[in-house]
């Protein structure tokens, strides 16, 4: 927890927030829950911890947001600290429980509302607060300067052009079809992700660009309960897209960025009708189209033969609707696909979503313990490769791999596609010796 000053809470402010959120929907949700318990069995925290009733989603929202409303905002700091432990430490807002609630109560939204109330009183995980400071200052979660970002793009374009002839990373190209946005960890620590995306777009002969601002599509402020900042972050991206006049915003293989850009962001940013100003497309959708339409072809000799499984990122599959596209991509890439059980929109959260991983060591133990459900799902498939189009799932499955000795490799679609796609002749690098002979 961030070092909040131990001052009394601002009850008036809490009341105002509760009032602002007290629409018919939340009121109904809070009063309609009949304690049927169906949500409990849907929650991986509950399942992984000996079915502790305190981990059932209904218990979690009733004892946090529910009590805030019941007490009409008259709560103290001690109470909010208890809420902290539940809403950040025992829920990843994966929304699986909402699918199993017979009344359709959107429990994740209730938890997110409780997060925003705790945030208003300075109660927020330290790991998320640090990213908020970076977003405020630079527009990206890692505090990278524009100069550093652009230089990394240029460097990756130069190194990769040695492998794919004619490869460039176009910056701020007006009117491009796709404005490609990434997770700040890519330019910062995994620049090869930028290179791989550029390889795919070059071979697919895509009209694309990377923006010099609004390029970080992540939005951890959304998970910190800081709605104003979340709106600012997503608006940087929307505004840049409008300024460049691009057709669509393309989201990297990141889950929560899609949730933010396509679904929650428009509300944070105050867009009319709850729709983003430009169409939002996730990489999973576009990669599927490339393979379906033959714009990217896979070398039949290189198709993966090892058994693979697919980790559905909650915010790509369940909350993004792309579960079939993910599987259709795999049909092109691998011959032995073994789905998890349950799967698709019913798949469990990796156990690291909702900001859990950026919260860092504070909840690491719980993250590993509750990840047991995912670890068992993976082990039961017998797969040697876990594909997942989300950095967060990627890290969590890697951590689970170590913790539970799963003996798997975790890969993104980009990594596999660039490894096994056919690079047409015109994109093959020119052999230096041959080039010399020609002169």
């Amino acid at each position: 927890m961030s070092e909040s000053i131990d001052k009394p809470v601002d009850v008036q402010q809490i009341k105002t927030l509760l009032e602002a959120n007290n629409g018919a929907r939340i009121k109904t949700w809070l009063s309609i829950c009949s304690r049927c318990g169906l949500c409990a069995e849907s929650c991986f925290f509950y399942l992984a911890n000996d079915r502790d009733p305190r981990l059932s989603p209904a218990y979690k929202f009733k004892n946090t947001l529910g009590l805030m409303y019941r007490k009409k905002g008259n709560v103290d700091r001690e109470f909010l600290k208890k809420c902290y432990d539940i809403i950040w430490g025992e829920c990843t807002t994966c929304k699986r429980c909402s699918m199993y609630c017979p009344f359709g109560i959107d429990i994740a939204t209730l938890i997110a509302t409780a997060r925003s109330i705790c945030f208003s009183q300075g109660i927020v995980p330290e790991g998320l607060a640090r990213t908020s400071a970076n977003y405020r200052e630079t527009g990206n979660q890692m505090g990278m300067s524009t100069e550093d970002f652009l230089e990394t793009c240029q460097w990756m374009a130069e190194e990769t052009a040695e492998e794919i002839r004619g490869l460039t990373i176009p910056i701020d190209k007006p009117g491009a079809k796709y404005m490609y946005t990434v997770n700040a960890r890519e330019p910062m620590f995994y620049p090869q992700d930028l290179a791989m995306a550029a390889q795919i777009f070059t071979v697919a002969e895509e009209d694309w660009t990377i923006p010099s601002s609004g390029w970080d599509c992540t939005n951890l402020a959304m998970f910190a309960g800081d709605k104003a900042l979340a709106g600012h972050v997503v608006k940087l991206m929307y505004d840049k897209a409008l300024q460049l006049g691009v057709e669509k915003i393309l989201i990297t293989e990141c889950g929560h960025a899609y949730r933010s850009a396509a679904f929650e962001g428009p509300y944070f940013a105050g867009c009319t009708g709850g729709k983003p100003p430009v169409e939002i497309v996730h990489s999973v959708r576009l990669f599927y189209e490339y393979l379906r339409d033959g714009r990217i072809k896979i070398d039949p000799d290189k198709i993966l033969t090892e058994p693979v499984t697919y980790q559905d990122p909650c915010n790509v599959s369940r909350n993004g609707g792309l579960w079939e596209e993910g599987r259709k991509i795999i049909q092109f890439l691998a011959e032995d696909f073994r789905d998890m059980s349950p799967n698709r929109e019913h798949n469990h959260c990796c156990g690291g979503g909702g900001g859990y991983i950026p919260m860092g060591p504070e909840f690491k133990k719980r993250r590993m313990l509750s990840g047991r459900v995912k670890a068992e799902q993976i082990r039961n498939t017998g797969a040697k490769i876990v594909i997942t189009p989300c950095h967060n799932c990627f890290d969590q499955v890697n951590d689970l791999n170590k913790e539970y000795d799963l003996n798997v490799r975790v890969l993104s679609f980009k990594e596999i596609i660039t490894e096994i796609m056919i690079v047409p002749e015109k994109f093959q690098p020119v052999d230096e010796e041959e080039a010399g002979d020609d002169e």
């Binding site: 990213t131 979660q141 890692m142 460097w155 910062m188 950026p358």
Partner: protein
């Protein structure tokens, strides 16, 4: 926080396996974590990367982006991954005694 002892040195490590403060760092730490980071034998090249990370951290208080690491060491990105299979963001920072970087890593 957990306490561990290795070759006569004591380390306090957080749940992510990073030492809790840079002051505790000593070469024994690198030896202690190398196997869990997929490194069998430490070479001069490993030490060069570790020292660059530490110099940058002492000056700026954060881990450098990979671009800086490649520029200062003169190593290509692929080579850095060969040296540190768990990556320059996490594995190399952990070995150099830096805190886990902020954000989605």
């Amino acid at each position: 926080m957990a306490q561990i002892e290795y070759k006569g040195k004591n380390f306090e490590i957080d749940e992510d396996g990073f030492i809790s403060s840079f002051d505790q760092w000593c070469p024994e730490w690198v030896d202690y974590v190398k196997s869990s980071e997929g490194i069998s034998e430490l070479t001069e090249e490993h030490w060069k990367v570790i020292h660059v990370l530490q110099d940058y951290y002492k000056k700026h208080g954060i881990a450098p982006m990979v671009r800086i690491l490649t520029k200062v060491t003169g190593y290509k990105l692929k080579y850095i991954y060969e040296l540190f299979p768990s990556g320059p963001g996490k594995g190399a920072c952990k070995m150099a005694g830096l805190p886990k970087p902020t954000g989605c890593v």
